[in-house]
């Protein structure tokens, strides 16, 4: 018979397939035409709008909202894509509550910002659904650029380079392109096959070849890439995970990012095993996503255990409210010390108390690290050191996204850095040639 949330251990199918389907539907369903017009009408068309400044890709938000309000969402999408070719994904995954919508003057005025993210989705969905790709490649320049990593940084870089007429070859270590868009983002933010559809749409500009299962450091060398291409862009993200020293053994210990990746690769998620009692260790977006998705799969209790206080947590208030609304509990100031079969023990850093929680499954979400970065590159704070243009310490090699210094670890920041590096690569290749 079917199992329930209360079945002990770790198992799949705790709740019915239909409930899982419902639980993983769009966090924000798409706006209808009427909702979009009402939302767009609230925009004041601010001068030097604070929302634009707050957007890492600097999308001209008042302009695209005015274009929606005047009945041309297709032109609105063009305004968005001009700055951010992954505007569709960003509309879904950006923590708008800490970016554009936080800066919206109507957030200040009434605590109710314009629904910028959802309007962005309204416009971009329209164009992507029509199958139209609104950019053409410039005439071939005869230059070739290698892009390592097909995450948002690499894809944005590749697209902009293709627009300028360069030939782009992307190499990715994984079996599928997309980076964390495909393997990391919460399933209720990027639903169905959106990540792959967006890549297909992006690649339809032409001039970009993707090789999957090709890894820098394992087979591919920087020297070889530099020989074969006129420039190299590294967008390799952070593929390592921080480990955690704990006394004892526990069969249900895993990395949150691996568990999320398998969840994202499952079609209907009925095959994804989750514990009855889940404990997630960490305090960022990954911890929240792992906890919420455990709950949505039918876990009975889910606890996020964070070693410091709320004020240090990188997850936003919106994310924490979301977690709370799904029934996730958050413990602050707790450091894990030991594990045993079916449980985990923490010490409270302020009171010194010992806390023992039942735990069938323990997920580590305590940060990702740079891996396989070429040793010759200068590193700063665990990331590849880059300047404002994305240039690394070695001439001819650029980097951007999570693997590079500068900016937050966000999809939209990766897009901005990939795009800007492409512009600099273009300038330098054309200057040279």
């Amino acid at each position: 018979m079917s199992q329930t949330s209360y079945a002990p251990g770790i198992s799949a199918g705790r709740i019915s397939a239909d409930t899982i389907l419902d639980n993983f539907a769009d966090l924000h369903p798409p706006l209808t035409d009427h909702e979009a017009l009402v939302a767009a009408d609230r925009c004041y068309f601010c001068y030097d709008a604070p929302c634009v400044t707050a957007c890492p890709t600097a999308i001209d938000i008042p302009l695209f909202i005015r274009q929606i309000a005047t009945g041309t969402p297709e032109s609105a999408a063009q305004t968005i894509f001009d700055q951010n070719i992954l505007g569709g994904m960003c509309a879904r995954v950006c923590p708008t509550e800490t970016l554009c919508e936080q800066a919206c003057v109507r957030e200040k005025a009434e605590g109710k910002p314009i629904l910028i993210g959802q309007l962005q989705r309204y416009a971009t969905d329209r164009v992507m659904a029509s199958g139209v790709h609104p950019y053409l490649r410039a005439p071939d320049t005869g230059k070739s650029v290698a892009v390592i990593g097909a995450g948002p940084a690499g894809l944005a870089c590749a697209h902009r380079l293709a627009m300028h007429g360069h030939a782009v070859v992307i190499y990715d270590a994984n079996k599928k392109a997309g980076g964390l868009n495909e393997f990391g983002i919460a399933a209720y933010k990027s639903t169905h096959s959106f990540a792959q559809d967006e890549i297909d749409w992006l690649l339809s500009i032409g001039g970009i070849t993707i090789h999957t299962d090709r890894s820098l450091g394992r087979g591919l060398t920087l020297a070889q890439l530099q020989d074969d291409h006129d420039a190299v862009f590294l967008g390799i993200g952070l593929s390592g995970v921080n480990t955690l020293a704990l006394d004892g053994d526990h069969a249900g210990l895993c990395n949150a990012v691996d568990w999320i990746a398998s969840l994202r690769q499952s079609d209907d998620k009925t095959d994804i095993a989750v514990g009855r009692n889940v404990v997630v260790i960490g305090g960022g977006m990954t911890a929240v996503d792992a906890a919420v998705q455990s709950k949505l799969l039918g876990a009975d209790t889910v606890t996020i255990a964070y070693r410091r206080g709320r004020e240090n947590m990188s997850a936003s208030m919106f994310e924490l409210d979301l977690a709370a609304s799904k029934g996730v509990r958050i413990l602050y100031h707790v450091t894990p010390t030991s594990v045993d079969d079916g449980s985990i023990t923490f010490t409270h850093s302020e009171t010194g108390e010992e806390i023992n929680l039942p735990a069938d499954q323990i997920m580590r979400a305590i940060g990702q690290t740079l891996e396989n970065a070429p040793e010759t590159l200068a590193i700063s704070g665990g990331k590849i050191k880059t300047d404002d243009h994305g240039r690394t310490s070695i001439s001819g090699i650029w980097a951007g996204g999570d693997c590079a210094t500068g900016g937050d670890d966000l999809t939209v920041t990766a897009v901005a850095e990939g795009r800007d590096a492409a512009e600099d690569i273009h300038a330098s290749l054309m200057g040279k040639g």
Partner: protein, 432 residues
């Protein structure tokens, strides 16, 4: 990509969006910013004759009418023509035109109603490189008290006389800007044509008092306890302007006279409406004053998208398309019968259609206990009020009854075209 370039009486511009003569075009600084933002042309703020400059009030110059959410719908002003010295304006015009040769540069003029001053000012601006002149016969306050502006525009004979002087003393293409503060716009338009004008532009602002301060009981804007009527513009005046543009396009005497459409143009849609009713291009003032110059980007992208979608190759192909369809009431088909229809999936159950019809119209909307609103075909006269008050676009529409169908309200079958001139109730028709 559609072709937005326009040729208006021989004056070329990359798009049909010009800034009207007003504060946005008063200085080199503003006009440079406008051109950088993408405007196709400007009509420089009206110049007066050399000598001591005009003075403006030093209190508030504008009053406003707002819609919901404090959206500016109408603006009123008591500003006069440029208050900067003529020679400085001329230097600036010359410099800007040199740097932006592809944009239209029109100089607006207003001097006393005598041949000498007109001859002088035309000579003074001869070497600016400007593409044309616009004669400001429209300003309804201040200048009119001095026998200029709308004081000229309200007397067709003066319009013809001054226009003829301008054509006599210069080769500039000449646009005559008309005032709407008049009974029938066709007379000043015919006079401009008779005087040799190459085009007319309209409308200038409408006489208005925007509001009265209820604490001090003074008209707004208030200058030290008093107010004077000013000129009204912005989205609220668009319908008045559209009609006047159409009147000129429909008039046999002036149907070939090019028109620059002005009055409430705020989005690309407004612009297309003016073009369709016969304007060769549009001029914008209030929308730019409300939102800044960047709105032209939406106007350009919107017009572009519209033309691409409709397969229209050039702006001139839009011009006048709606004119043959602008008729007199007596030409309308009285046998055209429609009924309102409410889309239940879109209805948000606000009840506005119901109460407006019930209280103020024909009691033709029924409401059920569970708030489902439906139209009673036997009572609906198809007035369109429910469509107009419904907050959801496309929720209520008008369905046309096919030929031969029975109108439940009248019990009659829908017949072929028939208008008032032949209607049995028209006694005048019967006796002719």
């Amino acid at each position: 990509m559609a072709d937005l370039t326009t040729d208006f009486i021989g004056i070329k511009s990359p798009n049909p969006f010009w800034l009207a003569s007003a504060p946005p075009t008063d200085k080199e600084y503003n006009v440079r910013r406008a051109f950088e933002a993408g405007w196709g042309g400007v009509v420089w703020k009206t110049l007066g004759e050399a000598g001591p400059p005009i003075v403006n009030v030093n209190g508030p110059r504008y009053g406003a009418i707002y819609g919901a959410d404090r959206r500016l719908l109408g603006l009123n002003n008591i500003e006069l023509i440029t208050d900067r010295p003529l020679d400085i304006n001329i230097e600036e015009i010359t410099r800007v035109k040199k740097d932006f040769p592809d944009r239209a540069m029109i100089v607006s003029l207003m001097v006393p109603c005598e041949e000498g001053p007109w001859k002088d000012i035309l000579r003074q601006i001869e070497d600016t490189g400007a593409d044309g002149v616009e004669l400001n016969f429209g300003c309804p306050h201040g200048m009119a008290e001095r026998g200029m502006g709308s004081a000229v525009g309200q007397v067709p004979e003066y319009i013809e006389m001054v226009t003829a002087w301008v054509k006599k003393h210069s080769d500039f293409p000449c646009i005559v800007k008309l005032t709407p503060n008049i009974n029938d716009i066709r007379y000043p338009a015919r006079a401009a044509k008779a005087g040799g004008a190459d085009a007319v532009s309209l409308i200038n602002t409408i006489n208005s008092i925007t509001s009265v301060n209820l604490d001090t009981l003074t008209p707004e804007p208030t200058i030290d306890g008093w107010g004077a009527h000013g000129g009204y513009c912005g989205p609220a005046v668009k319908p008045i302007a559209l009609n006047m543009v159409a009147e000129i396009a429909r008039d046999q005497d002036t149907s070939d006279l090019p028109v620059s459409g002005i009055g409430g143009v705020t989005t690309w849609r407004d612009a297309v409406e003016f073009l369709a009713l016969g304007a060769g291009n549009v001029q914008v003032c209030t929308a730019a004053m409300t939102y800044g110059f960047k709105i032209v980007q939406e106007m350009i992208s919107g017009l572009n998208q519209y033309m691409d979608e409709k397969g229209i190759a050039s702006v001139s192909d839009i011009v006048g398309q709606a004119v043959p369809k602008a008729k007199d009431w007596q030409d309308l088909n009285l046998n055209y019968v429609t009924k309102a229809e409410i889309n239940q999936d879109l209805c948000i159950k606000c009840g506005r259609c119901y109460i407006s019809c019930e209280d103020t119209s024909h009691q033709a909307i029924a409401v059920s206990e569970d708030r489902v609103f439906t139209v009673k075909d036997q009572d609906c006269v198809a007035c369109n009020l429910c469509v107009n008050v419904c907050p959801v676009e496309g929720c209520i529409t008008m369905r046309q009854l096919p030929l031969g169908a029975t109108d439940e309200r009248t019990g009659k079958k829908v017949e072929e075209y028939g208008n008032w001139t032949t209607h049995p109730n028209n006694t005048a028709a019967n006796c002719s």
